[in-house]
């Protein structure tokens, strides 16, 4: 980014009037704006393709003006495709709820309780959050098939577990910032632990919980490999798997893929919109302690 503040102060040191930082061309500005423009194009072109192809009767991988149709969306809204979306939603919601609740309780313990070797344990958790679950896919499959768990719910819970290390870290940082006095004040009022968590800790951890929940949801929502390997029942297939239904060995239904992708991305957009009001962290701790 530009740094108009630094520039302005340099010039005001020399006694010159502070110039309007927006006006005037400089190499700095041209360069940085150009970089942003190029990056923007990189993101915008696939999006544009997605929208155009989804309403194009003869969609290909090329970017072109569409021959308008809604057939792609009709194909994308076929019952089995909708069913897969439903499965994805069920799986992601379970993964989000399980992951966030467990991570919150763990984070509270890590933040407030005495735990032997807390530092090393937390480091191990941080390390685990960097290990891709893919490397464990073979033993996981063995385990799931041995236990008869090759279905939607156990997979959802496993996905919750994969998100947990990061969620624990995220939430713990928020709990660490809450003054201990607040919980103590509630304990003195004879509130039990659950009441203190519900009435004091959770409301003040809301921005962290919202971020953690979105992370958990997106993590499960976009997951492809785990559901493909661990869900054996065709009726329990999730949306990313169904995307492959638009590709056969002989042809690829580009329009269908585009339309389904748009539908597939809507829940995530919706989730961000719903959660956005929980992100205003600013007011949360104001005025608690002096």
């Amino acid at each position: 980014m530009l740094n108009p503040g630094a520039k302005a102060s340099k010039e005001s040191d020399s006694g010159a009037p502070v110039p309007n930082p927006v006006s005037g061309l400089s190499f700095e500005k041209v360069f940085s704006n150009l970089t942003i423009a190029v990056l923007g194009v990189f993101f915008a072109i696939p999006m544009l393709w997605l929208v155009l192809a989804s309403v194009d009767r003869r969609a290909t991988y090329a970017l072109k003006l569409p021959l308008l149709t809604f057939a792609n969306f009709l194909a994308a809204l076929q019952p089995e495709n909708l069913g897969a979306l439903g499965n994805s939603i069920i799986m992601s919601v379970i993964a989000t709820v399980v992951g966030t609740v467990v991570a919150f309780l763990a984070a509270y313990s890590f933040s407030r309780h005495y735990i032997p070797w807390k530092g090393p344990v937390l480091l191990a958790i941080l390390f685990l959050s960097g290990v891709p679950i893919t490397v464990l896919i073979v033993p996981m499959y063995e385990m799931f098939s041995y236990a008869g768990w090759l279905s939607l719910v156990p997979t959802a819970i496993l996905l919750a577990v994969t998100a947990m290390p990061f969620q624990i870290y995220l939430i713990k940082n928020f709990i660490d910032a809450i003054p201990l006095d607040l919980e103590e004040a509630a304990f003195i009022e004879k509130a039990g632990t659950l009441r203190v968590l519900r009435s004091v800790v959770v409301p003040m951890t809301m921005p962290g919980l919202a971020s953690a929940a979105i992370f958990g949801f997106v993590n499960a929502w976009g997951s492809f490999l785990l559901p493909v390997v661990l869900i054996s029942d065709v009726d329990q297939q999730t949306a990313p798997e169904r995307l492959y239904g638009f590709m056969s060995s002989t042809s690829v239904n580009y329009g269908g893929i585009a339309a389904y992708s748009i539908i597939y991305s809507l829940p995530v957009v919706l989730l961000y919109v719903l959660m956005s009001r929980h992100f205003k962290a600013g007011f949360v701790l104001g005025g608690a302690v002096r």
């Binding site: 003054p179 006095d181 607040l182 103590e184 004040a185 509630a186 304990f187 003195i188 009022e189 004879k190 509130a191 039990g192 009441r195 009435s199 004091v200 409301p203 003040m204 007011f283 949360v284 701790l285 104001g286 005025g287 608690a288 302690v289 002096r290």
Partner: protein
């Protein structure tokens, strides 16, 4: 109906001893004030009493029940935190009602109590605000209201008025004292304010470096401090501490302080063999200008005025006597300026004698009170 007893209580944080060997009994319905310099362990003691901190050693009893390890919720105490500890996501009304709601009190009763208490602390018009939208003093009143809404076994108030303006402070002082008297709840009150301590406390405990130096009624603490630290901590401006020599005689001791010589009966001393070099303490209030002195004041000192400080009703004058600064109280009408020679008078029964090394009082505490009582009569 609660008595509090600390038995040999100590608290260490790592290898730092915040409270050491604390023994203290607080009577049922008593208003006990803790005073002492910053960091001397007042809050720590309060937190141990509330159950928020576990003593490293010793026991705490409420009514003969050992509560040393009891959880905070089991003790039925109401506490004002030094940091306020308001719930930032709740309005003032919610903050006040939180405790009663947790304890499942009926809604109508809670609403009524919230109204009463918010009026008591002057927050009626702010009930819908959040703590972040309040001033420091308003926040402190919410914290106070949150304790006053209860009728607990014990009130623990940690500097509950420190952030209020003078008028509001005086007002809240009366309100707290009145509420405490009405409810008869045993109360422990921490303050840095001398006036609060002297006017509100039934008894005052003076802390220093994690120990209690003296526990006594305000009058006795002021009149008969057990050692130099208490003597200089209680009373404003501070007590003068002057170098002096003691010479024993038959039935009396002779005190020589900055050239002034007088005798005291040896019976009024704690020890038959007092050290020779001692420190003499005398309050600025007890040193009078010659023309304004009561007739019982017979000992005289003289020196040069080096500074003046007027409070309106009186003037405190610092006088240089043989290189030692002595603070004394003059009536405000006296026309006096820096560099003037002045004569000062004091009553020998008003002096305190301290061991120069240990700081302990050398005067038999009971004799001081009797003597000064006598001298005031005559």
């Amino acid at each position: 109906m609660t008595t509090i007893r600390f038995e040999k209580v100590s608290k260490s944080f790592g290898d730092y001893n915040a409270v050491q060997d604390l023994n203290l009994e607080i009577k049922d319905g008593e208003f006990m004030v803790f005073v002492g310099p910053s960091g001397c362990g007042k809050t720590t003691t309060l937190r141990m009493l509330a159950g928020l901190e576990t003593p490293t050693y010793g026991r705490i009893y409420l009514d003969n029940d050992d509560v040393t390890l009891a959880a905070p919720g089991k003790r039925d105490v109401a506490m004002v935190f030094q940091s306020y500890a308001l719930y930032p996501h709740m309005t003032v009304r919610k903050n006040l009602a939180f405790g009663p709601e947790v304890r499942g009190e009926p809604k109508a009763a809670i609403a009524k109590r919230v109204e009463q208490v918010s009026e008591l602390v002057g927050l009626q018009s702010l009930l819908h605000r959040r703590p972040s939208e309040l001033s420091g003093g308003q926040r402190q009143r919410v914290a106070l209201g949150r304790a006053m809404i209860r009728e607990p076994r014990i009130f623990l108030l940690d500097e509950p008025l420190s952030n209020l303006d003078a008028a509001l402070r005086t007002h809240m002082r009366t309100e707290i004292s009145e509420l405490q008297r009405k409810l008869g709840v045993t109360t422990v009150y921490v303050t840095h304010d001398q006036v609060e301590a002297m006017t509100m406390g039934h008894r005052i405990a003076v802390f220093s470096h994690g120990r209690i130096l003296q526990v006594d009624t305000p009058a006795r603490l002021y009149g008969a401090p057990a050692n130099k630290s208490v003597a200089t901590f209680i009373g404003s401006p501070k007590m003068n501490i002057l170098p002096a020599r003691l010479a024993p005689g038959a039935g009396h001791v002779t005190v020589n302080c900055l050239g002034t010589v007088f005798t005291l009966p040896s019976l009024s001393l704690t020890s038959a063999l007092p050290p020779e070099m001692i420190e003499l303490g005398i309050r600025p209030d007890d040193i009078h200008w010659t023309k304004d002195a009561p007739s019982r004041c017979t000992e005289k000192m003289s020196g040069t005025v080096i500074s003046l400080e007027t409070t309106g009703s009186e003037t405190f004058v610092i006088v240089d006597i043989q290189g030692v600064e002595v603070n004394s109280r003059f009536p405000s009408f006296v026309q006096i300026k820096i560099g003037d020679q002045v004569d000062l008078l004091f009553d020998r029964s008003d002096v305190h004698l301290f061991d120069a090394t240990s700081g302990d009082s050398l005067r038999d505490v009971s004799s001081i009170v009797e003597m000064s009582a006598l001298s005031h009569v005559k």
